[in-house]
């Protein structure tokens, strides 16, 4: 008899779930909203600020070309190479800035930790696919652009189940 009771309970639980709301996030139309606008790091206190680890953003006015991000990434993914930049800055005599190859980057954010001049942060933009591997290499000027991302959907929980509202 326990099998019959078990079968009935299983069927009942199955039918009950017909009323629960659908949870799937319909990706291209809905995009999840993240905390803040990207992972940042405050070298003074040595602690990061919570944020999404997406594509990097490079502030040309703060970067001094000290290569610390390249050295930090050397042991992990060797994704950062220092390249010549045409406009020279007062605080960047060698005029070299990081160029990030997203074919290799693992988005761990240790380069953001390693930068002592608040020059390298991360943003919420994670849609970086491209047709060629070379197109994945972002030059410093590309990294300086702040991405516009429309991410406004959150997980809503009510009595009829959770859904992406």
């Amino acid at each position: 008899m326990s099998t019959v009771a078990g079968i009935i309970r299983a069927l009942n639980s199955g039918v009950k779930h017909l009323a629960v709301k659908r949870f799937t996030l319909r990706y291209p139309e809905q995009k999840l909203k993240f905390v803040g606008d990207g992972f940042q790091f405050d070298p003074q206190t040595g602690v990061g600020i919570a944020g999404q680890k997406g594509r990097h953003i490079l502030f040309h006015d703060k970067c001094t070309g000290c290569q610390l991000c390249a050295i930090a990434c050397e042991g992990i993914a060797e994704a950062i190479a220092m390249v010549k930049v045409n406009n020279t800055w007062k605080h960047n005599k060698k005029a070299i800035m990081p160029q990030i190859d997203y074919g290799k980057c693992v988005f761990c954010g240790l380069c953001v930790d390693a930068c002592p001049f608040y020059a390298l942060y991360m943003t919420n933009d994670y849609e970086l696919s491209s047709f060629t591997k070379e197109a994945l290499i972002y030059t410093p000027s590309q990294l300086a652009v702040k991405p516009k991302v429309a991410q406004d959907v959150e997980i809503k929980i009510d009595d009829r189940g959770a859904t992406h509202g």
Binding site: A10, G14, V15, H17, L18, K21, R22, R26, G161
Partner: protein
């Protein structure tokens, strides 16, 4: 002018016209005429208000509109229409297609996901169409050392057998493709075909996984046919007839499920096993043998087998409603045909139009079909439910339930039927008639 037809040559244009006319003539004479002759001479045409509709008179309906409805009504009665459209394969394929779509959305809803969404803008309504087109356009790959003739024939045989099963099922009083006196026996005979086709196709595809799948399917279907037949024995004992229409008529006041619930349960479980539905879907167990006996089918052959299995699902659900839920019996809910349209005709402003022979389909037939469809769809939904709720059963447990539990229950059901019969409660000359 030059951009659209850069080099227009009159000679080329005339040549293409002549070519076109030639092809129309050829097609008309080789295919058109024989078709017309067959239709006109071999299909016996009906009598309309007294005179036999001869082939020569048949084409006069264009001139006299009042003849159209009687011709259509008579076409409805012909066997070809029955087989191709209403109670036969057309109706079944339509319901099967709807079942495929409903199953995917129903299962998705139960698993809190969305299911097909983007085909056809509105919740994936055209997903079925796109699947069909995809399967038609896919290339049919035949394994090198496969037994080609049997490999080709297997899907066609499968759909043919499913259609044969559908033809035995009465949808409304008088509306059945083959009203056979030994209806139930014919159903068992057709069901016996399915394992043969499965083994044929798995043996013909000459590869390991289909072969194991085919043997498992054989095990499963053979071991579940016996309880299938035994569970229906109760009904035959009480109704005293094998004709499906008479079985339905015997359930005017009460349905057999009330008196033989155990028979209904046993029949439902064996039905799941015959259809290879989830608790018993060992032949195509994805995690062990890739897709069982379907592995080597590709393109339209796989499409045919899918269509065949869902037509089979409709046929079994219809069988369940006929045998246990009283087929088309049900209170009259269909609105009667408004009489004044028949008598005075339709008045639109100054014109009144009278259409002779108007009630194309009478009210009882429509009501019967409505009740039949409601019950069958209900049974189909219950058949779809276990797919989302149960895991797959193991091969030895499957055979154990098949041989011990179900056959035992089937015998209990037969004893109940016999007890009812000899107590004089039911059956021929019983108290409740």
């Amino acid at each position: 002018m030059s951009t659209i037809a850069p080099k227009f040559r009159l000679s080329r244009f005339v040549a293409s016209l002549m070519n076109l006319i030639l092809w129309i003539l050829v097609l008309f004479t080789l295919i058109g005429l024989p078709l017309v002759f067959i239709v006109l001479f071999y299909i016996e045409l009906p009598e309309i208000n007294g005179e036999l509709l001869t082939p020569y008179l048949a084409l006069t309906w264009i001139a006299d509109p009042s003849r159209t409805l009687p011709i259509i009504k008579s076409l409805l009665q012909t066997d070809f229409f029955r087989i191709a459209a209403f109670p036969g394969f057309g109706f079944a394929a339509l319901l099967a297609a709807a079942t495929i779509y409903i199953e995917r959305k129903f299962l998705a809803k139960m698993q809190l996901r969305v299911g097909p969404l983007y085909c056809g803008k509105v919740e994936g309504i055209l997903q079925l169409m796109s699947d069909g087109l995809k399967l038609i356009s896919k290339e049919i790959i035949i394994p090198a050392k496969a037994d080609k003739p049997i490999f080709w024939a297997a899907p066609l045989l499968f759909v043919g057998t499913a259609a044969a099963l559908v033809s035995l099922i009465p949808v409304a009083p008088g509306w059945v493709v083959a009203d056979v006196d030994v209806g139930l026996l014919a159903v068992f005979a057709v069901i016996g075909f399915f394992p043969i086709i499965t083994v044929l196709s798995s043996w013909a595809s000459n590869s390991k996984f289909p072969f194991i799948g085919g043997i498992r399917a054989l095990h499963q279907m053979i071991s579940f046919e016996i309880p299938l037949i035994l569970s229906l024995l109760g009904i035959v004992i009480l109704t005293g007839t094998l004709n499906l229409t008479e079985i339905v008529e015997s359930q005017q006041h009460y349905w057999w499920i009330i008196f033989m619930p155990i028979g209904a349960i046993v029949f439902f479980i064996t039905l799941l096993a015959e259809l290879e539905r989830i608790p018993f879907d060992l032949p195509e167990a994805e995690s062990e043998i890739v897709a069982g006996w379907l592995t080597e089918f590709s393109g339209m052959m796989y499409g045919l087998v899918q269509l065949g299995s869902y037509v089979k699902l409709y046929a079994f659900a219809a069988l369940f409603t006929i045998l246990f839920l009283g087929g088309w019996s049900g209170p009259m809910v269909w609105p009667p045909f408004p009489q004044e349209i028949i008598t005075e005709g339709i008045t639109m402003g100054p014109i009144t139009m009278k259409i002779p022979g108007l009630p194309l389909l009478d009210q009882e037939m429509l009501n019967a079909t409505l009740w039949f469809v409601i019950k069958t769809v209900g049974v189909i939904m219950v058949i779809l439910l276990p797919r989302g709720v149960f895991p797959r059963i193991r091969i030895d447990l499957l055979l154990h339930t098949g041989w011990y539990k179900l056959i035992g229950l089937a015998f209990v059901n037969i004893f109940i039927a016999l007890a009812l019969l000899y107590a004089g409660v039911l059956g021929p000359g019983g108290l409740i008639q």
